[in-house]
Amino acid sequence: MGFRKLQHARVVGVAAAVPDNVRSNDDLEGDPVEIARTAKLCGIEARYVAPDGMCASDLCQRAAEDLLKGIGWKRDSIDLLIFLSQTPDYVVPATSCVLQHRLGLSPQCAAFDMSLGCSGYLYGLMVAFGMVAPQGIRRVLLLVGDTPSKMVSPHDVAANVLFGDAGSATAIEYDESAGESYFVAGTDGVGGRSLIIPAGGFRTPCNADTARRKPHPVDRVLRSEEDLYMDGSAVFSLTLNHVPALIDSLASTSGWSVGSVDHWLFHQANRFMLDHFARKLSIAPDRMLSNIDRFGNTSPPSIPLLMVSEDFQSRCKGAGQRYGMVGFGVGFSWAGALLSGASPVTLPLARHA
């Protein structure tokens, strides 16, 4: 498993934005019994859904505007912009380049995209922490967002219950006095078939046939090859096989026990999985944050969305706190981090119209 011990980097601040449009379980189309059963297991009461024309980059831009104002960073002081998403604006160019212009950042700002799902925030954080240095890149703006609601078939009740849209912005800075941070990451590509949009890339370009919705051979849900397919039990099985080992690896490489971590921020996959991990890993309920009831599974921005919650802010005051973060999902890909130090500045959640 990939492991990195990094020093001299810290998270300065975090902001997040969701679309203004909230969709409750009562607003969803489909069999009410199936909706209620899925919603209960997943622990989801509502989610925010981006309207046509609103992209992950719009939500990230809004979060970035709020963040830069909140922490007082000048735009020309940002050396690197990373945009991490699976719902970019275009096939080409990279959305990070589009956002560099829209945010009015300096032409000297490096920018690139990363493509990952539910493990993505930790990968983005690991790259940002790894790239800051005394000279050169001192300040990184990490923009992580997704609009998974746009990937799913309207006939796919489970997916429509599960997914919500969000964007986030995280400011990372070189800091000589920052404490040690630990990152662990891994991949099992065989799991790619369990969570996939088969068409729309260059392997299988979109055409009239890939757009046609027909009963899927596995679950009979009306879905096209351009819609997201998820084999929930296979994803869960992969998660059970890899996430406990990830936590063990984080604990053994850092020397921090699971119980010594003050706050655990897991990717908000679904309530059922979070409860199972809390029990299995003996994490006390008051140390395991969750907001999935109000946002659903937002894929990579779910952890920064947790960080801007009032719950996180009220619990995480003062210096010397230890944070554990864990992401896992599409790929199959997973990553975790243990961070310590003063709590980052967090901005109130924005609702973007």
Binding site: R37, T38, L41, A158, D219, D231, G232, S233, A234, F236, S237, L240, N241, F272, H276, R279, K280
Partner: protein, 75 residues
């Protein structure tokens, strides 16, 4: 293996525990759906620290098949 496993499996299948015998056929139950598969994987992980392959689980037709899968995993 029968006691607690049968008791909790009955709860997730929403049937009385007396019905959970080796001949109990999951596919005859409306409650045996994708959510029940997830719950069964979690239950087996909690009770036996085993992560079942979902394709093997889907191939199991009876509670007896489930128990045999677990015995094979232990062997």
């Amino acid at each position: 293996m029968n006691g607690k496993f049968a008791e909790e499996f009955a709860a997730l299948m929403e049937v009385p525990v007396e019905r959970i015998t080796d001949d109990f056929r999951m596919e005859e139950q409306a409650s045996w759906d994708s959510l029940a598969l997830l719950s069964t994987i979690a239950l087996i992980d909690s009770l036996f620290q085993r992560v079942l392959d979902p394709t093997e689980l889907q191939a199991a037709q009876t509670f007896g098949d489930l128990k045999r899968l677990l015995e094979q995993a232990e062997a």
